[in-house]
Assembly symmetry: C2
Homo-oligomer: 254 residues x 2
């Protein structure tokens, strides 16, 4: 069983040079969080084998799952597969089942045989599992989930694999305040120190919402959240509290 | 003179746990690219001193500028300043000029004296320069630009400092194609190999745009882009080309 934790490596010159706004990081962050899989980091790197390998090797000992997005197409700048293989110490081999998948897709969509160059997409790290939907499989090797960069394809392949990744949901409570952060900083620091198993967050707003700060209180253990929220409410001046959303209640606007 | 290159460290539990979608990475990527400052990587890490320090120390030898976003407020989870100081081998000291800036802002906005806890925001790495607008300064120390996480504040402080960061603009050409990527992969690979000073990108589309693939050709040297585009057009079948946007021409839709 791999730990329910992940790091994401976004392979994307186009993100770094602002040709594309990355949609995959925020989407995967939300999906992983819903599932109770902790996302430890997002590394957005260039389409270079050495930089992808470095990010993979750095993050690998720290998490159960590595997810890559992008760099799995047929062109010269698609080097993710080569980098994953290098990071795992595996060879890249043509997978004939995968080649047949792409040939079938190509025939169906384009009404013709796939050009040989396109079959480069069937070259994967040796031992890669074809998971999820066999007609558009999710590529997984040694805990590395290699997703395509095109958002709709990434989502499809991820959703068909995430059930295998483990995870327990987080329990979340929110406390909305009518005072600025510096007014409650000391109280929050003290309560956070007394509840080390709980994650506290403080999100100031600078718009016309009904609150100035949202505090979040989160843990995989429901009881810890309940106790920590009570401690927080006791430590804050009653007049500062706009409302409280306890675990399971709708958190309300933003 | 520092090199016109940068790495961004996004400090954000809230991004990793999907409580907030990061707007700062895409915005900074676009602004840096416009200015011809190469963005080498974006590292999104948790609000932990050790993880921020690791990212800063890893990226620092590689780029002229490090940019951090977030983690500079007054609460317990704001640890970016401490991490920057540790990465640079400097002490954290209260900056009295900065304390006066925050006192003035607080008095103006809230009509009262700033609570002592709020002045934690005036604790910065020793030697930090207060650049940009003196009434809301950009914090810069040894090539590390420490920006706030709130997008409107980050943008304000960045825009008042970016003029000091150097950079020459990139020249960009785009070639729009009516064929799928695998049809042109071999030609693109050959042209890219023959023009090592030029960046080539290939962006497939899966919607109802007038093209299936956009190729981008980019360099800080205009002549190299012109030559590379000509080579690319010679290598591609004429029937595959929908249109070409040469450097200085509007690139057209997406």
């Amino acid at each position: 069983m791999r730990a329910p934790s992940a790091s994401l490596v976004v392979v994307g010159n186009e993100v770094l040079s602002a040709k594309v706004v990355d949609e995959n990081g925020p989407w995967l962050a939300a999906r992983l969080h819903e599932r109770g899989i902790e996302l430890r980091s997002i590394s957005t790197v260039r389409d270079r084998v050495d930089e992808i390998v470095e990010a993979l090797q750095r993050e690998r000992p720290r998490v159960g799952w590595l997810i890559t997005s992008g760099g799995v197409g047929p062109t010269h700048d698609d080097v993710t597969i080569e980098a994953v293989a290098a990071a795992l110490g595996r060879k890249v081999r043509r997978d004939q089942r995968l080649a047949e998948v792409y040939r079938t897709i190509h025939r169906r969509l384009r009404g013709e045989e796939m050009p040989e160059a396109g079959l480069r997409m069937a070259d994967v790290p040796e031992g890669t599992e074809l998971a999820g939907d066999p007609s558009f499989p999710t590529l997984v090797c040694d805990g590395v989930v290699m997703l395509p960069g095109v958002p709709k394809f990434l989502r499809y392949q991820f959703d068909r694999f995430v059930g295998n990744m483990g995870g327990e949901p987080f329990h979340l409570a929110c406390v909305y305040l009518s005072v600025v952060e510096d007014r409650i900083a000391a109280a929050l620091t003290a309560v956070a120190a007394a509840h080390p198993g709980v994650e506290f967050g403080s999100y100031p707003r600078f718009d016309d919402a009904d609150h100035l700060v949202k505090l979040t209180v989160e843990s995989r253990r429901l009881g810890e959240v309940v106790v920590a929220v009570d401690a927080l409410l006791a430590a804050l001046p009653a007049s500062a509290i706009v409302r409280v959303a306890r675990p399971g209640e709708a958190p309300g606007p933003a």
